[in-house]
């Protein structure tokens, strides 16, 4: 047993931490907060140049084929910002979905461009009045000759405004339900009939994508017709611990902010950290962070070691989503007034914790998946 980072991972962690410190200090993160995609081109190019968008892409498709554990080391650092932008949507969820679902030809065509950051992918799955799962997919793709025509609406699509291409879950078998009859169509955002708009509120970089008679060639369906959900599910199961690692990073950041504040904020002539009620909040943050960390780490190890990871990856999403949410709540209690001011930066995490809580299914959904694996 060895639960420490290896040498390579330690270097990666330091490099990522340095990058965040240099390129994304708080004032930049606050600017990104108001940016439409969260990823201005200069910053996106820098990330691509570092090879960070190709980590999970095998070498033959232009990436570095790193392990899940390695990628998670990076994501944990990015989560500390939190650094917004479509890296998770494109280089993790998008790339893994193309790997799982795509034909050899499609992988060769798409993945090198994803690794370069030229092509930006995101999943478009959820529809109005639906919760996460195969029944969320109602959008129909009618076949006529060699083309599919898409009509329908996808909502709460992460990084919708940053994406150049949507991996759109569609029903290619009329009248099908559940996981059967779903296909994944790669839709170029610039096609006629595709319209995207941001959805505002207490969430970040989430949008609505409308498909209005959008015509896509049969060749843009990733892999086998009708087998889309199974492939998507496999890809997501591998992506979940990376997302969880990003949430762990978020927990670490609010933990550090809170500890630091408890040492320096003086009330009643003493640091507030002397008050047991404040200590309790920080203990809760610490526990939320470490629970998420170790559940996530084990899930990553199982994936890399080729073990059965089904219950672990879903548990990682449960514990990290609830943990990040909880950590932010307690951090707000530690900080009181200053913590809700925009300039302070805690809000960035709070909003991210809410946005990611429902992403790819909330903890209830993933507990159901755990039960399927365990019972």
């Amino acid at each position: 047993m060895d639960l420490s980072l290896n040498e390579h991972q330690t270097m990666l962690k330091n490099a990522a931490a340095n990058f965040m410190e240099r390129e994304c200090p708080k004032n930049v993160l606050l600017q990104l907060d108001k940016h439409e995609t969260g990823a201005p081109p200069e910053l996106w190019h820098k990330i691509a140049e570092l090879g960070w968008l190709g980590m999970l892409i095998p070498a033959q498709y232009g990436g570095s084929g790193s392990s899940f554990s390695d990628a998670a080391v990076l994501y944990q650092e990015l989560g500390k910002g939190p650094l917004p932008g479509p890296h998770l949507s494109s280089a993790v969820l998008g790339a893994l979905t193309v790997l799982e679902a795509g034909s050899e030809e499609q992988r060769r065509a798409i993945l090198p461009r994803v690794a370069d950051g030229v092509q930006v992918l995101t999943l478009a799955v959820l529809e109005p009045e639906r919760r996460w799962g195969p029944d969320a997919v109602q959008l129909t793709a009618a076949r006529s000759g060699g083309t599919f025509t898409l009509n329908g609406l996808k909502v709460f699509v992460h990084d919708a405004l940053a994406a150049t291409h949507f991996i759109c879950a569609v029903r290619t078998t009329p009248g099908s339900s559940g996981a059967e009859g779903i296909s994944l169509a790669l839709v170029d955002r610039s096609l006629p009939g595709v319209s995207v708009r941001p959805l505002k509120g207490f969430m970040g970089w989430v949008g609505e994508v409308r498909f209005d008679g959008v015509q896509v060639p049969e060749s843009s369906v990733l892999g086998a017709l009708g087998g889309g959900w199974a492939a998507l599910d496999r890809a997501i199961e591998r992506a979940l611990p990376i997302l969880a690692a990003y949430q762990v990073g978020g927990c670490e950041a609010v933990f550090q902010m809170s500890v630091e504040y408890s040492r320096t904020r003086i009330q009643f002539s003493q640091p507030i950290g002397r008050f047991q009620r404040v200590q309790d909040h920080i203990i809760e943050i610490t526990n939320a962070m470490d629970a998420a960390r170790w559940v996530t780490n084990e899930a990553l190890w199982k994936l890399d070691a080729g073990r059965d990871a089904a219950s672990s990856v879903h548990m990682a999403k449960v514990v990290a989503s609830d943990g990040y949410y909880t950590a932010c709540n307690h951090a707000h209690e530690v900080h009181a007034g200053i913590g809700v001011s925009w300039e302070y930066g805690l809000n960035l995490h709070t909003r991210m914790s809410r946005t990611l809580y429902s992403h790819l299914g909330d903890p209830r959904y993933h507990k159901r998946r755990m039960a399927e694996a365990l019972l």
């Binding site: 029944d135 509120g201 009620r277 949410y325 009181a336 007034g337 925009w342 429902s358 909330d362």
Partner: protein, 411 residues
């Protein structure tokens, strides 16, 4: 015990009078059922107009003595006014006025006769609106640690210092604050309480960008919060209320009000909006209210909001029936704050992303739900954090110490 308010014929007569007054005097543009974060200047002007008209009848501050511009009305009548305004989504007063709600009772309890005559009628009649200026960068929970100074110089006090997280975006005619009048004096005996004309030279402000500026339900929104700076502001000595260096004792009155001591009989619009949404919307092709998870989550929320309502009702009764109170104020406040924060997650479990969005196509309850997602966090801080409420409860229950601390004097 009787929880049902039985309305007398006199109350029903009064209700009819109030209702026809409101129908005649509340412009449609002022009433909005949507979540309001910040009123337009026009809406604000209408609120102030209504306030003045209500003030003339003594309905703006109905429970306060007539001789000082209040209504001199008993609980029976106050309830009717509260209920009728509630129907329109308005409050008593119909704008954020910490001066009247908290400063009013404070002056009543601690002011000289001359001060009561001078300060109270304009507030109670809605001619002026006032802000509460307590918090400073270095003094939040530790309110007695304020460092803003008010040093006597001839007939004036010269005020210097900074206040934060105060006020709103529409300005105020007056502001009240506590400041150090005896820099050498011992803690709690070095402060005095002032009502200050905000047009005095040397007062400046800067808006603050917060997650929301109000921790209550939408509609009681106070727009944005401000930092207020005092730079050699000369405040006439007769604006000091309750005796020099007695400010801490004076503050106990408004702190009691702020800690929930006067209760609340409002309903939860957030809850109504959520239930209505679930009754009328589908999830995965069937009514949301048929989903077992959602049914359970809705009942979790119902239980917590009912407890909040009942604590509020109890405190409302205790305050206006002038019954003895101990820890009830902070108990209400701590429960409301704790459960509102907890319920943000419950609501997101029910609604998913719908809980978070302000997009006109997808928002729930005209924005009340997204607003509660932020206000549930922000609302844990104003008027004393949850920890501070628990601290006060502990002292008043007498945990580990005798004698027990007393509740603040509401007069």
């Amino acid at each position: 015990m009787d929880f049902e308010i039985e309305y007398s014929t006199e109350q029903e007569r009064f209700r009819a009078e109030v209702r026809s007054f409101l129908e005649a005097n509340v412009p449609a543009a002022m009433v909005t059922t949507a979540a309001v974060e910040s009123y337009t200047a026009e809406q604000y002007r209408m609120q102030r107009d209504l306030g003045r008209k209500m003030g003339v009848r003594g309905w703006l501050y109905p429970q306060f003595p007539q001789e000082y511009g209040g209504g001199g009305l008993d609980l029976d009548h106050v309830i009717i006014l509260d209920e009728e305004l509630e129907r329109l989504g308005l409050h008593l007063p119909p704008y954020y006025d910490s001066g009247g709600k908290m400063g009013g009772p404070t002056i009543l309890v601690w002011g000289t006769e001359e001060q009561k005559q001078h300060f109270l009628p304009p507030i109670f009649k809605g001619e002026v609106r006032t802000w509460q200026l307590l918090t400073e960068p270095g003094a939040g929970s530790d309110l007695a640690g304020v460092t803003t100074r008010a040093i006597r110089d001839g007939d004036d006090y010269v005020v210097n210092g900074q206040k934060v997280f105060v006020g709103s975006n529409n300005g105020a005619e007056w502001m009240w604050t506590i400041a150090v009048t005896d820099p050498e004096g011992p803690r709690h005996k070095n402060l005095s309480w002032f009502m200050i004309d905000s047009s005095l030279p040397g007062i400046t402000m800067q808006p603050l960008e917060l997650l929301t500026a109000s921790g209550g339900e939408a509609g009681s929104a106070s727009g944005e919060k401000q930092s207020v700076f005092f730079d050699d502001v000369r405040v006439p000595a007769n604006c000091l209320v309750g005796g020099e260096n007695n400010g801490w004792t004076v503050a106990s009155t408004h702190l009691e009000v702020e800690h929930g001591g006067t209760g609340n009989i409002g309903r939860s619009r957030m809850r109504e909006a959520l239930f209505e949404h679930c009754r009328t919307h589908q999830l995965d092709g069937r009514p949301m209210t048929e989903d077992p998870d959602i049914r359970e989550l809705l009942m979790d929320l119902y239980v917590d909001t009912e407890i909040t309502r009942l604590y509020g009702l109890r405190n409302y009764y205790l305050a206006y029936a002038k019954k003895a109170r101990t820890y009830e104020g902070p108990q209400y406040s701590a429960h409301r704050k704790t459960s509102n924060l907890k319920l943000t997650r419950t609501v997101q479990q029910i609604l998913g992303y719908y809980a978070l969005t302000t997009d006109p196509e997808y928002l729930v309850g005209e924005g009340h739900i997204e607003f509660m997602q932020r206000a549930g966090i922000v609302g844990t801080h104003p008027g004393g954090t949850i920890e501070v409420q628990k601290l006060i409860m502990a002292r008043r229950i007498g945990i580990g110490s005798t004698p027990r601390e007393k509740a603040g004097d509401l007069g």
